[in-house]
């Protein structure tokens, strides 16, 4: 499955985990109708952590990270992001959403806006940044994901890998403190997976707090400081990547790893 190898080894020197709590999830449960998708999730994420969430499809990993910016509502338990608890209070929700960036499997760029407009929209309308300044910030991040020359094109004119890098830049323009990645490379051709993963590695090298749902185990080994394995809506096992891959404890994890590696 993870046939992509990265060209250079990630520089782990800047990837420091602080003891500040970024996300605190306690006793969280969620149901879709009568179906119990997430069961008793307890998870504390510290600032600077790079967490990879793995598991078979339908295990609730996407749902878990979508609860963190309340694209999905949980019914029981607490989710506290950067000191703000997620409740039905929309003000808190919008506050959390502007601090947490999200990258989707299908990019979800706005097709009617240019790349630059995609990147400046939220800073201008949510953060009230002046247009000029927002454009400068956007160009800075577009350079960082290595596509400044596409700024005035529309998303439909870009390749999948380029679109996903724009989506990352768009999230970064809001200066988020946490980034969520929901299978960011699953919809991409192998040639393009690499360019997206490299962007994510460089982000990790700058100390961004990241939660990634991905099947790219190479990325997990290279960048993550913690791998979480989920099955049937529960966290089955979590460990440092080295231990996780070389010495899995639960039978379910062993089976999963034997199938994908």
């Amino acid at each position: 499955m993870s046939s992509i190898t990265l060209d250079h080894h990630a520089d782990r020197s800047a990837m420091k985990v602080s003891d500040q709590v970024a996300i605190d999830i306690r006793g969280m449960n969620k149901w879709y109708g009568a179906f119990h998708v997430l069961r008793d999730i307890d998870l504390t994420v510290y600032e600077g952590e790079r967490i990879v969430i793995a598991g078979p499809s339908g295990s609730g990993k996407s749902t878990l990270i979508r609860c963190i910016n309340r694209l999905e509502e949980h019914q029981e338990g607490q989710i506290i992001v950067d000191g703000t608890e997620l409740t039905s209070d929309l003000k808190n929700v919008d506050k959390v959403r502007s601090e947490v960036g999200m990258v989707f499997q299908h990019f979800n760029l706005f097709p009617h806006l240019t790349i630059l407009e995609n990147c400046t929209l939220a800073p201008i309308w949510v953060r009230k940044t002046p247009r000029k300044e927002a454009e400068e910030v956007a160009m800075h991040f577009l350079e960082k994901v290595k596509i400044p020359e596409q700024a005035h094109k529309y998303p439909g004119m870009l390749s999948g890998g380029q679109q996903q890098r724009v989506a990352i830049a768009r999230s970064l323009c809001m200066m988020p403190r946490i980034m969520l990645f929901d299978e960011p490379t699953s919809a991409l051709d192998p040639e393009m997976i690499k360019e997206v993963l490299e962007t994510m590695v460089s982000l990790a090298e700058e100390g961004m707090t990241m939660l990634c749902v991905t099947h790219e185990m190479g990325f997990a080994k290279e960048v993550a400081n913690r791998v979480i394995f989920m099955d049937q809506g529960q966290i089955v096992e979590q460990n440092e990547p080295e231990e996780f891959f070389n010495n899995p404890q639960s039978e379910r994890t062993k089976l999963f790893l034997s199938q994908i590696l």
């Binding site: 694209l71 979800n108 760029l109 939220a122 949510v126 529309y154």
Partner: protein, 496 residues
């Protein structure tokens, strides 16, 4: 087996396509003579077109323009087939303006410049909304030129002075837009766009200018009507921060209603005492012809789109009561024929209103046609909303945009773009449905044509009148259809 191995050593250069597949020859081969059956069909069609034109053209170009009655036409034609265009020549003004005062009756003045000016201003108002190829500068020039026509029509010394002033202003504002140096022109457009006020300001005032021009009366009534919106806007702006956006919205609507119901009368009479500006009042029953159709059509088209959007959003809302109201309204209106609604407007509504209230018939018809169009518009817009992938909503949410911002910046621009063909179809349908008002006794072009045919001089004329009306409707509807295709092309950004 060793033959399988092959390595290309040099890449082939591009070549031009064969001559028979490009140019006119290539086009004709591909589109007209592509095979035996197609060639036969092409020739048969050409023969058919020839016979139709051979019969139609002499009929169309018959020398009857100046005849005064059907009998005169027959004398001129002397037994030949031909149209009797005298009826259009004699009655075209009636077909366009109905019985709007044209100065022919003793003691009246020709007032037709008012609908003319309103029609000109319509273009000035919609151009900045519909097109982006015309500069701000040009738009203000157009406005000044249109207004100078109005001043010319009013006449008198003051009118002539105004014409000169307006045209001078147009030249001053516009001379740089006509510079022969292309680069200078582009630079001027760029710079002028920042210095001149946005022409959309006029587009916003336009809805209050037109009823003043068409119906006349004191200008302060219409200024007051516009002020109601301004007051509501101000109330919302300063109160929403204090009491929340929903409460702010409700309060601002109440402010506007109170203003319109109770305060507008005193305001208008007070201002009339200070500065009386008024046009001669024209009664609704004098409205007719294409002027009436266009008035009803433009109002219904202009107002039904925003109402339709609100209804479509209401129908998708999580708020139960909002949703129930929207669904109820849409389903009720769609379940009832337009003619029924028009009958309600013309007869039943008066029974329910308190005795003595005089509620203008055209206004009643306008409300009914607009509501009717809104229900259809809502469903068309809902189709566009349904076609948007869920990811667009999620991306907007994930960036922290609130509901209204997400709708305005992300969802609606895309949903409306998807719905353009449906929206324009609804517009065209509404415009054509305006002829139904002839059934409740308003003199739209069809109603007038019946009146004209009842005249002894033109008794028996059919094709010429209906052909002319059909042609006029075709011009309007076809323009709308072409515009929708232009808009789709303009908004295409290379995605599916």
């Amino acid at each position: 087996m060793s033959d399988m191995s092959y390595v290309r050593s040099d890449m082939l250069p591009e070549r031009t396509p064969p001559a028979s597949s490009v140019g006119f020859v290539g086009w004709a081969r591909a589109n007209l003579f592509n095979g035996v059956v197609n060639s036969i069909l092409t020739i048969v069609s050409l023969v058919l077109i020839f016979f139709v034109l051979a019969a139609l053209l002499p009929w169309l170009f018959s020398p009857t323009w100046n005849s005064g009655s059907l009998n005169e036409c027959r004398e001129i034609l002397n037994g030949h087939e031909g149209a009797c265009w005298g009826v259009i020549h004699e009655r075209w003004q009636q077909l366009l303006y109905g019985f709007y005062p044209n100065g022919s009756e003793a003691g009246t003045v020709d007032q037709r410049w008012r609908p003319n000016l309103a029609f000109l201003l319509l273009f000035v108002a919609v151009i900045p909304v519909l097109f982006n190829m015309i500069s701000r500068r040009m738009n203000w020039v157009l406005l000044l030129v249109a207004l100078s026509y109005g001043a010319y029509a009013v006449g008198g010394t003051l009118g002539m002075i105004t014409v000169v002033v307006l045209l001078a202003a147009a030249v001053i504002v516009g001379y740089k837009a006509f510079s022969t140096d292309k680069a200078a022109r582009a630079a001027e457009i760029e710079a002028g766009a920042k210095r001149l006020p946005n022409p959309l300001i006029f587009s916003a005032i336009f809805p209050f200018v037109v009823p003043f021009l068409l119906w006349g009366g004191s200008i302060w009534v219409f200024v007051g009507a516009a002020l109601g919106f301004v007051l509501a806007g101000l109330a919302y702006r300063y109160l929403s921060a204090a009491v929340g956006s929903l409460a702010g919205m409700i309060i601002s609507v109440l402010v506007a209603i109170v203003w319109w119901l109770f305060l507008i009368g005193p305001f208008a009479s007070a201002m009339d005492a200070i500065l009386p500006i008024a046009l001669e009042q024209i009664e609704s029953r004098k409205f007719g012809g294409f002027m009436l159709s266009i008035t009803i059509g433009v109002v219904a088209i202009g107002i039904s789109l925003p109402i339709g959007i609100v209804l479509a959003l209401g129908r998708q809302s999580d708020l139960l009561i909002v949703k129930a109201l929207s669904v109820g309204f849409i389903e009720f209106i769609r379940g009832v024929p337009l003619i029924t609604l028009l009958f309600v407007a013309s007869t039943l509504l008066n029974i329910f209103l308190p005795p003595g209230t005089n509620f203008d018939i055209i206004l009643r018809v306008l409300i009914m046609v607009t509501l009717f169009a809104s229900a259809y518009m809502a469903e068309v817009v809902r189709g566009g909303l349904a076609a948007l992938p869920k990811g667009q909503y999620e991306a907007a949410d994930a960036l922290g945009l609130d509901y209204w911002k997400a709708q305005r910046l992300i969802i609606m621009p895309q949903a409306l773009k998807i719905s353009i063909p449906g929206i324009v179809s609804t517009f065209i349908g509404v415009f054509k449905d305006t002829v139904l008002v002839s059934i409740i006794g308003l003199l739209d072009p069809l109603g007038l044509s019946n009146a004209i045919r009842a005249d002894q001089a033109w008794n028996g004329v059919v094709w010429e009148l209906y052909g002319f009306i059909a042609f006029m409707f075709f011009v309007f509807c076809f323009s709308m259809s072409r515009y929708s295709m232009y808009l789709e092309r303009r908004l295409r950004t290379g995605h599916k």
